[in-house]
């Protein structure tokens, strides 16, 4: 957590929660939404605020899939790996994106442009297989269509 702006944001978030254990997960979610990820210092501050050992916060953060320690890429890509998507070839989409973006699932590109994640099910099973870039859902993907869909985002990054 580098900037003072982040620190100010954190203080503001903390002030709207009660000092109870049940605040932990909502707090972490709130901080992640606002900062984009969970910096180490933020987790320490939360532990201090809730008066619980840091290790307990760490345990909770690493238990749930939602939390992450690095910021997402500018374009965050999620590939659905639900049953319907799997049966329709979701894994091939994921592999195609890994090849195309030169990162593994769960990683963010060094240039910060793209990050790639697998999700369990986004509930759009009739459009399987789907990938989601930011908030835009791309239905009925093939490896080829997935690569094509990235082109505008890549052009945008190059500008």
């Amino acid at each position: 957590m580098s900037g003072t702006k982040e620190k100010e944001q954190l203080i503001e978030i903390l002030s709207s929660y009660s000092k109870e254990k049940k605040s932990l997960i909502p707090l972490l979610q709130d901080v992640q939404t606002k900062l984009g990820y969970l910096p180490k210092e933020a987790m320490q501050k939360i532990a201090g605020f809730l008066e619980m050992p840091e290790v307990e916060v760490w345990g909770v953060v690493t238990f749930y899939n939602q939390f992450r320690f690095v910021p997402l890429g500018k374009h965050h890509i999620r590939v659905c790996m639900g049953t319907a998507c799997h049966l329709a070839g979701g894994k091939l989409i994921l592999e195609a994106l890994e090849r195309e973006l030169e990162i593994k699932v769960g990683e963010t590109r060094k240039d910060g442009e793209f990050s790639l994640e697998r999700v369990a099910c986004v509930g759009c099973c009739m459009l399987a297989p789907v990938m989601i870039v930011g908030d835009d859902i791309y239905p009925k993907m093939t490896p080829f269509k997935a690569e094509e869909a990235l082109i505008p985002y890549k052009q945008e990054s190059q500008q």
Binding site: K22, L24, L28, V60, F63, A84, L87, C121, G123, T142
Partner: protein, 634 residues
């Protein structure tokens, strides 16, 4: 305000709406994915351009996901028409035709909601709707989910008013008599649970709604919350009154942002009318509902793990007993039910237990809600009386399998359920019949597979999911499922041994016996049922190194038939992501098996008139000069 006044106000608002022309657009998550928001914009633009004032209401999902974006146009002195696949390009025509003029554009319609209108079918008479019985979904797609008055005008909250005037014991009796069983999947009798919780000692008590719909391939709860959230809230308030709780929580997946937003609005609106909060409807009864958001752990859908999560801890299950009804949230008596269970409650109070128990089978009353996905023509969502057969659902409601391919299996209940083969298609859908077939009702995801789906791969997929999502508390679940997964992985890459099948069966029993919660107890089900009904596929993988469905990449090779390759076309060469296809223009194209990643792009892009790309399994079917690379892979 007394309820009568609230109701009158809501009814007059609803009647005003009915006496005007209005447009309903389904903008639940599935509709949005299909482009409903562009359709919405197109309507707004077209109406503005023509300077016409017509109300557009964003509604939830009617369940006809295959036809999204879905639009209904309602006119006061004419019939309502349902249009499917409404792209923005169609909008000007619909506005010109049915909003401005009197042409209902029936050629674009799925059907009408009032009967006898010539060429367009009458929707309730379509084969799909003849089998369906919509109870929980009766308002979905027809009312504004974020306008509580629409809900109230259509019968909402009258059950709460009725319930508050009765003794909790009477309501428990009613729910018991109705025969309602938990809609989360396990099917525990709801009335009994309510009674335990009512009698349990300890203060304060809590009500929790489990909306952590984690099964991949299931999205009914999402649709309920996005389309008609008030019925769930009403069910929870009644639950709170019955057990004597003043606080409830809805635990909802963070992956469902739209559902979260609509529920939040619904709670606020209910509070504003005094239907939720302090002194509900002037009776002195207080009940508050808070939202708790899931953080992406499948195990949180298990009731005891869910409570750990609400308390702010790692979501690991607790041993039972004590059951949540005795010691749940913060060790206090807690009534925990699924979204659809709560949604059924107002209906039972409104129409009575006798009516409810007349629907369904001996042991399973009411309706079952399923999402229909996989190899089906009409995917979406359906609600049928318990006892409807799988065949009716697959063929009559979902319109069968694309290309009339043979049905292979239906997977019900997600990672906890099992695969049911064609021989058992006449199995009635109820808790007990499905369990007998080795599957379970589960949360209601129904996924159909055809000959192009590999059953070993499907079992591996589910086990991979359960292994990743195991919380790690119980050794057998943490390590037993992992061992099973390794064995399945060996089989799918052609390194399985025939004794592995029996080993899997033994391990499956141990994992079931050695796990505390439903995740581990049911994780082996997909493996057990696929071995039970599709043992030959396991054997083909092991003995012949062959994947009959040609899915497992290590046992399957793509091959370009030289006699069919057109030579001058280069579609495959240019699109292959790994540059695995060789052949200059004018030469026959050949796939370098060493570079091939089995993505199937060449097969997709090969023009249908040539149709030169085929899949071969076992790999030994490849002509010998092609074989080297694939062989080297192993």
């Amino acid at each position: 305000m007394i309820f009568q006044e609230i109701q009158n106000q809501a009814k007059s608002e609803w009647e005003n709406l009915q006496s005007s022309t209005y447009i309903l657009i389904g903008t639940a998550t599935c509709g949005r994915a299909a482009g409903a928001l562009s359709t919405l914009e197109a309507f707004q633009g077209e109406l503005a351009r023509r300077n016409i004032e017509v109300k557009i209401i964003q509604v939830g999902c009617m369940g006809l996901c295959y036809a999204e974006p879905l639009v209904i146009i309602s006119k006061p002195d004419s019939f309502r028409v349902v249009y499917g696949n409404v792209t923005p390009e169609l909008v000007p025509r619909l506005v010109e035709g049915y909003i401005v003029g009197d042409d209902p554009c029936l050629e674009l319609a799925l059907g009408t909601l009032e009967g006898g209108e010539g060429e367009a079918p009458y929707i309730p008479e379509l084969p799909r709707f003849e089998h369906e019985l919509r109870l929980v979904f009766r308002r979905c797609g027809y009312i504004d989910p974020v306008n509580v008055n629409h809900y109230i005008a259509n019968g909402g909250y009258s059950s709460l008013e009725k319930a508050l005037g009765r003794q909790p014991e009477e309501i428990i009796e009613e729910v018991k008599k109705s025969g309602l069983r938990g809609r989360g999947g396990a099917g525990f009798p709801t009335g009994q649970k309510w009674e335990f919780c009512h009698k349990a000692e300890g203060e304060p008590k809590y009500v929790v709604c489990n909306a952590d719909e984690g099964d991949p391939g299931a999205f009914m709860d999402r649709v309920v919350l996005e389309s008609d959230p008030q019925q769930v809230i009403e069910g929870m308030i009644i639950g709170g009154y019955v057990i004597g709780a003043n606080q409830g929580y809805i635990y909802i997946r963070a992956e469902y942002p739209l559902a979260v937003e609509r529920v939040r609005t619904a709670l606020k609106q209910a509070e504003e009318l005094g239907l939720l909060g302090d002194n509900i409807l002037g009776t002195g009864f207080n009940f508050h509902i808070g939202l708790a958001m899931g953080a992406g752990a499948f195990v949180s859908g298990e009731e005891t793990a869910l409570m750990e999560a609400v308390e702010g801890k790692m979501s690991t299950p607790r041993p039972r007993p004590p059951y949540p009804a005795q010691a749940g949230l913060w060790g206090k008596p807690t009534l925990l039910n699924n979204v659809k269970t709560f949604a059924n409650i107002p209906l039972i109070i409104e129409r009575g237990a006798d009516w409810f128990s007349s629907i369904g089978t001996e042991g399973s009353k009411g309706t079952a809600v399923f999402t229909l996905a996989g190899k089906l023509n009409n995917k979406g969502l359906t609600e049928v009386p318990m006892g409807t057969t799988l065949r009716e659902v697959v063929y009559d409601i979902a319109g069968g399998i694309p290309g009339d391919k043979p049905f292979k299996a239906v997977q019900i209940g997600g990672p906890s359920g099992g695969c049911i083969p064609a021989e058992l298609l006449d199995t009635p859908i109820d808790y007990d019949s499905l369990r007998e077939a080795g599957s379970m009702m589960g949360s209601g995801g129904l996924i159909v597979m055809d000959e192009d789906n590999c059953m070993v791969d499907a079992a591996r997929f589910f086990l991979d999911f359960s292994t990743k999502e195991s919380c790690g508390k119980c050794t057998m679940c943490r390590l037993g499922t992992l061992q099973m997964l390794h064995i399945l992985e060996d089989i799918t890459v052609g390194q399985g041994k025939i004794e592995d099948i029996d080993l899997l069966l033994r391990l499956a029993e141990d994992v079931k016996a050695g796990s505390l919660c439903g995740l581990g107890k049911t994780a082996p089900n997909p493996v057990l049922t696929t071995i039970r009904y599709f043992r030959d596929e396991y054997e083909a993988h092991i003995l012949e190194k062959k994947c009959p469905a040609k899915v497992c990449p290590e046992l399957t090779a793509y091959y370009i038939l030289p006699e069919k390759c057109e030579r001058s076309c280069e579609h495959c060469v240019l699109t292959c992501p790994t540059e695995a296809i060789k052949g200059e223009k004018g030469e026959i194209k050949v796939i370098d098996q060493e570079k091939c990643v089995n993505c199937g792009t060449c097969m997709d892009v090969c023009p249908p008139e040539y149709d030169a790309v085929v899949k071969l399994s076992p790999v030994s079917l490849l002509p010998s000069e092609n074989l080297s690379g694939k062989g080297a892979k192993k």
